[in-house]
């Protein structure tokens, strides 16, 4: 079973190599974003700091957050949407493989491609341009890797859940915009949760989106108390399990309702 999954991942990886020319474009895009954010933080912070956050911190934060956003899987919504509209989903359902797992391993192939050809070059170039700090405590490094894995799983499940909701409402486009909006604000893309006022911070901490950028970046920068890390990772795991449970529930209802358009 494991072999068929790794084959799916491998295939997705090589499918991406067909679009090699887009790689430098993504690198350019990422560096622009980091550059804009660094410029603004420089204008805001200068050589000073606010709440113990200085410009070096924000450079690292911008880079880690931008990089994490490259490996999120919430756009899986369009894969499911496309398969529903073309009716190709029947081909996947015929395979003796759990459908969401198939999707996950397929997306993982994309992510591995992105990491090698976009994220690593972006990090190297930004490191060269602006400098970058690294975690030193092995405990944080392990926690960071776990948090990356949580970001993958949670973003996948959110995208997958929204896709399942579209089974009923066929409103993929609007739902994707709303999810993107929530991620923009509550994953701390650009503005970290450190700078949120109490009310907004409370909302952000009640939602799973903080695991899609802010938490990995904060752990990487050792800005979370060491005794809080286990609790935060546990919270992320609970979110993943909960989303998974809801997704399974919706899936069984959706599959019974599936009407292939045409054919």
């Amino acid at each position: 079973m494991m072999r068929s999954y790794s084959e799916i991942t491998k295939k997705a990886f090589f499918r991406n190599t067909a679009y090699r020319s887009e790689v430098w474009l993504r690198i350019f895009g990422n560096i622009s974003i980091v550059f804009i954010q660094v410029s603004i933080w420089t204008a805001l912070l200068g050589t000073g700091s606010l709440n113990g956050i200085n410009i070096e911190t924000m450079i690292t934060y911008s880079l880690i957050n931008t990089s994490v956003s490259m490996i999120l899987m919430n756009k899986v919504i369009y894969v499911v949407d496309d398969k529903l509209k073309t009716g190709n989903i029947t081909l996947d359902l015929l395979k003796p493989i759990n459908y969401p797992l198939l999707l996950f391993w397929d997306q993982l192939g994309n992510v591995i491609f992105q990491v090698i050809f976009t994220v690593v070059p972006t990090i190297l170039i930004t490191w060269f341009l602006f400098g970058l700090t690294f975690p030193t405590n092995p405990y944080f490094i392990v926690a960071f890797i776990i948090s990356l894995f949580l970001a993958l799983v949670i973003s996948f499940l959110i995208g997958y859940l929204v896709a399942l909701v579209s089974f009923w409402f066929l409103t993929t486009f609007a739902l994707d915009w709303m999810v993107t909006a929530l991620i923009t604000v509550f994953s701390g893309s650009f503005l970290p949760l450190w700078f949120f006022s109490d009310g907004w911070k409370f909302v952000a901490e009640m939602l799973p989106f903080q695991f899609l950028g802010f938490i990995p970046a904060a752990i990487y920068m050792e800005k979370i108390n060491i005794d809080e890390i286990v609790w935060i990772i546990g919270k992320g795991t609970m979110w993943a399990l909960m989303l998974w449970f809801v997704a399974q529930l919706l899936w069984w209802r959706a599959i019974r309702r599936l009407v292939i358009q045409g054919g």
């Binding site: 204008a43 805001l44 606010l50 409103t171 929530l182 923009t184 604000v185 503005l191």
Partner: protein, 263 residues
């Protein structure tokens, strides 16, 4: 092709889109939420810092909205035809626009008019009007006319950018990546360009004059006692129509060179 025929075409396009009113409305709501998130992030940021290089929240909201509004107006007419042009040429569908006794340019734009930008227009004009009412501006009739002209000029400039890149389809047949670069560059003007270095400011003013869309008009409106602001503010009104004219000529040049890819 006169204005009456053009607007008749556009009305037909809108009517056909309104066949699916439910899906359309949900889509609009989704996009409004999406952009609201971007405003919210800037608002949260300015809760901490009050100003970015002397620009407070209402001024930044004005700057951001001016960019979004002019983009939405320009893109309504040009996004779908220009981004789709390479595919239309490859599929051999472009001939249809050349074989009618109409201006191919205007017929092409009218036929592919996109009403989908209504969401952008809605949220950006609401915020724009709100920011005008809040900001510390001494209004004169002259200034009100200036704002109106700046919106028109900015829309023309945004449209010109899309048209120029679209025209390259006649030569290269694959230009999607150039659009991606264009949109990345436009990210730079979401904030006052004074946060960037001198070189980048010169590029954004004179080489790729994106700052003429929102930055210089905003300066003119907020601080017209400075002579440089006055000169650049007036220049911004000229750049829009001028670049649209040049873009139009470039497009016609490409269309005349077009030989048809299929057949």
């Amino acid at each position: 092709m006169n204005i009456r025929l053009f607007s008749y075409f556009v009305t037909l396009v809108i009517k056909s889109r309104m066949e699916y009113r439910g899906a359309f409305t949900i889509g609009v709501v989704g996009q409004v939420v999406g952009y609201a998130a971007n405003y919210l992030v800037i608002w949260l940021l300015l809760q901490n810092f009050n100003t970015i290089q002397g620009w407070d929240w209402t001024e930044i909201a004005f700057l951001y909205s001016l960019n979004l509004l002019t983009y939405a107006i320009g893109a309504s007419f040009t996004y779908t035809p220009m981004v789709g042009l390479d595919q239309i040429i490859v599929n051999g569908n472009f001939d249809m626009y050349l074989t009618k006794p109409l201006s191919p340019f205007l017929y092409f734009l009218a036929n592919l008019f996109n009403i989908g930008y209504i969401a952008h227009i809605l949220i950006s004009s609401v915020v724009l009007i709100w920011s005008i009412s809040q900001a510390d501006i001494t209004w004169t009739l002259y200034k009100a006319i200036y704002l109106l002209l700046a919106i028109i000029s900015g829309s023309l400039l945004q449209a010109a950018g899309l048209i120029v890149i679209g025209s390259l389809s006649f030569i290269f047949l694959r230009v999607q990546y150039l659009f991606s670069i264009f949109f990345k560059l436009k990210e730079f003007i979401a904030y006052p360009i004074s946060v960037y270095g001198t070189l980048l400011q010169i590029i954004l003013t004179w080489i790729i004059p994106l700052a003429m869309i929102n930055y210089y008009p905003s300066l003119y409106i907020f601080e017209d006692s400075l002579l440089t602001n006055k000169i650049l503010g007036i220049t911004a009104l000229v750049i829009g129509p001028l670049s649209l004219y040049l873009a139009y000529r470039f497009w016609m040049y490409g269309a005349n060179k077009y030989q048809g890819a299929g057949g």
